[in-house]
């Protein structure tokens, strides 16, 4: 059993093969090393973020928790406890960076709900995390109307963060020096992706997307949420890809970041059309939690289809197939341990 600089002993309960364990140790040590480095990037492309292999597994299968309820604080606590608790991520240190969806200045479920984010911050502090940041990059400081802080101001996130003592990391999507180039040879596009430095160097990244329709991607949830993690040039190049190229590239953005944990607040969802103008479906009363982004998207695609006759999970099949081929997770829900919790 190893000890890390910041946390308690590594979880002995992490299951898997010897190879998995080696990968796990390598990733944990990598995270510690990354935390000691200054926030810089080399001019050469880095490998994808040194994340922790999914520690939330049961009987060799990724665990996915579905919480039914209304109160976000209760749902988050019940969900994370059912998942095994934040102690499974203790090796990543005492700092976390949240990646919400603040693509526009319009309220939930178009963007991540403020009460959800506040409740999550409250829980993370309660279980001992010392420093929490919220990262999003929806604009640029080149021009005042496009400032990256604007959406977060409109949504009340900045004021709330000040109250909670949370750092706001508003990335400038045009500022090349805020991003590190990341590349993996298994990607379909043989060019690197600019990923925001703060995400690359974060010990723990928690993905907090919403569930909604998307005109280009079919659906936006765990994987697609990482469009906001990369610089504008890469987003535009992805949008110019025809056919399945767009689906594959968005998966590669998520692969570059590989968050340790995803929580989807699906108390309400956006159906029929999106990512901005659609039909808000309230009363869905679900929160989905997992360390496996692919399982999350597979589950959420079924959930969306239940509430949106114009959507079918088949519409994101290429995303799930490509994500699985990159080793991002499990799209076959029969191979996922699904635990339902009612609050």
């Amino acid at each position: 059993m190893s000890k890390t600089r910041n946390g308690p002993p590594l979880e002995a309960s992490v299951r898997g093969t010897a190879g998995d364990r080696r990968q796990f140790l390598k990733a944990s040590l990598g995270a510690v090393a990354a935390s000691l480095l200054p926030m810089s990037c080399s001019r050469l492309a880095l490998p994808r973020r040194n994340s922790l292999p999914n520690p939330f597994v049961l009987d060799g299968k990724p665990l996915l928790v579905v919480v039914i309820g209304d109160d976000p604080a209760t749902m988050i606590e019940a969900g994370l406890e059912a998942l095994g608790g934040m102690r499974k991520l203790a090796s990543r240190g005492k700092e976390a960076l949240l990646k919400p969806n603040y693509v526009v200045g319009r309220p939930y479920p178009i963007t991540t709900a403020l009460d959800f984010t506040s409740s999550l911050v409250g829980y993370l502090k309660k279980v001992g995390l010392l420093k929490i940041g919220i990262y999003e990059s929806p604009g640029s400081r080149l021009f005042t109307p496009m400032r990256p802080e604007t959406n977060m101001e409109i949504l009340g996130v900045i004021a709330e963060a000040r109250k909670l003592g949370v750092e706001i990391v508003a990335g400038d999507l045009f500022a090349r020096d805020e991003f590190c180039l990341v590349y993996d040879p298994s990607w379909s596009m043989k060019t690197p992706v600019g990923v925001h430095k703060r995400l690359i160097h974060a010990g723990l990244v928690i993905n907090i997307p919403v569930l909604k329709r998307h005109s280009a991607a079919g659906m936006t949830c765990a994987l697609k949420n990482h469009f906001g993690s990369v610089m504008m040039a890469d987003r535009l190049v992805a949008h110019k890809q025809e056919g399945k190229g767009f689906d594959r590239r968005l998966v590669e953005f998520a692969d570059a970041v590989r968050p340790e944990l995803t929580l989807v607040d699906a108390r309400s969802i956006l159906a029929r059309s999106g990512p901005e103008n659609g039909d808000v479906v309230s009363g869905v009363r679900r929160m989905i939690l997992s360390g496996d982004m692919v399982a999350v998207d597979a589950y959420c695609a079924n959930l969306l289809a239940e509430h949106d006759a114009t959507f079918s999970p088949e519409m994101i099949s290429e995303q799930l197939r490509h994500a699985q081929s990159l080793g991002l997770g499990q799209p076959d829900l029969s191979q996922v341990q699904i635990v339902e919790v009612t609050t």
Binding site: S140, F143, P145, F174, S215, R235, H239, D279, T310, S312
Partner: protein, 285 residues
């Protein structure tokens, strides 16, 4: 990228954003023309690719319909905020097309200045080369009157143009067509409007029309598509027919491919419907 290249890029982007955006458009109501509402904050304008900064992934669909410029102005009544978005497209059909894609079926009603798609929190309209979205900033109901009033005020200053909502119905001479269900599709992304249509091989796809049709057998959805060439239409048809698509029939004639979809409807009925739509075609303006 060097500092100099970054600065040049920023300057070019700045010029690109400002060009054509420096003057407020005449259709925006003056302060004295709107009751209860006051402009709040500055007028924002997005041109071309800068739309991605405003709506990110949503921009793709607008570009398929020929997006040119977007004007955004926020208004306030006593305690609520209303956002006006005026999307300017290359032509009237493009504006009507994106309107048809965004409207909720069955939501259209006549305002003082013409038809609009109205929900509790949003009014959507199209006039000339413009598509207007007037929405409650907080997405909460209760200000429908103000939303409609502002939409009417802007529409009254725009020319009718050759398109508008009537263009959609007038373009489809299909027997049994249900008014208000027509959708003009201008690119492959638009085909994602239905799960079954998303499976169409879209290489060479140019334009499509989707609408619901009523008959004694039941309601069916029909999709008329035009390809860049007969060869590409044939390729798409071959790709489609090589797989099983329950509830969908298809028919090909030169560069036109027609699909009819209906759950639990007889295949023979759907095939006949396809042939009928192939004969009736689309009225191009």
């Amino acid at each position: 990228m060097t500092r100099r290249a970054q600065s040049t890029g920023a300057l070019l982007l700045g010029l690109f954003c400002i060009w054509g955006c420096s003057k407020a458009p005449a259709f925006l109501p003056r302060k004295d023309e709107i009751q209860n509402l006051k402009p709040s904050g500055s007028l924002k304008c997005y041109r071309g690719q800068t739309l991605y900064v405003y709506i990110n992934g949503g921009a793709d669909l607008f570009h398929e319909y020929g997006f040119q410029r977007l004007w955004v102005q926020t208004y306030k009544n006593s305690d609520r905020e209303i956002v006006l978005e005026a999307y300017e497209m290359t032509d009237g059909p493009g504006a009507a097309g994106i309107y048809s894609h965004m409207r909720r079926p069955g939501s259209e009603q006549a305002l003082t200045t013409g038809l609009a798609s109205v929900t509790e929190t949003q009014v959507l309209a199209t006039r000339d080369r413009f598509t207007l979205v007037v929405r409650a900033g907080d997405m909460l109901p209760g200000i429908e009157g103000d939303l409609k009033g502002l939409c009417d005020q802007v529409c009254s200053k725009l020319p009718e143009g050759s398109a508008g909502p009537s263009f959609l119905g007038n373009s489809l001479p299909w027997e049994g067509r249900i008014p208000g269900t027509e959708v003009l599709i201008r690119g492959p992304l638009g085909l994602r409007i239905r799960p079954w249509a998303a499976q169409i091989h879209a290489e060479g796809f140019r334009e499509g029309w989707l609408a619901s049709c009523q008959s004694a057998e039941g309601d069916a959805e029909v999709l008329w598509t035009k390809f860049a060439s007969q060869e590409q239409a044939s390729k798409s048809f071959a790709s489609w027919t090589s797989q099983s698509h329950p509830d969908v029939a298809s028919a090909l004639k030169e560069d036109i491919l027609v699909f009819a979809q209906g759950k639990e409807l007889p295949a023979s009925f759907l095939e006949t419907l396809c042939q009928r739509i192939l004969e009736q075609g689309v009225r191009t303006p």
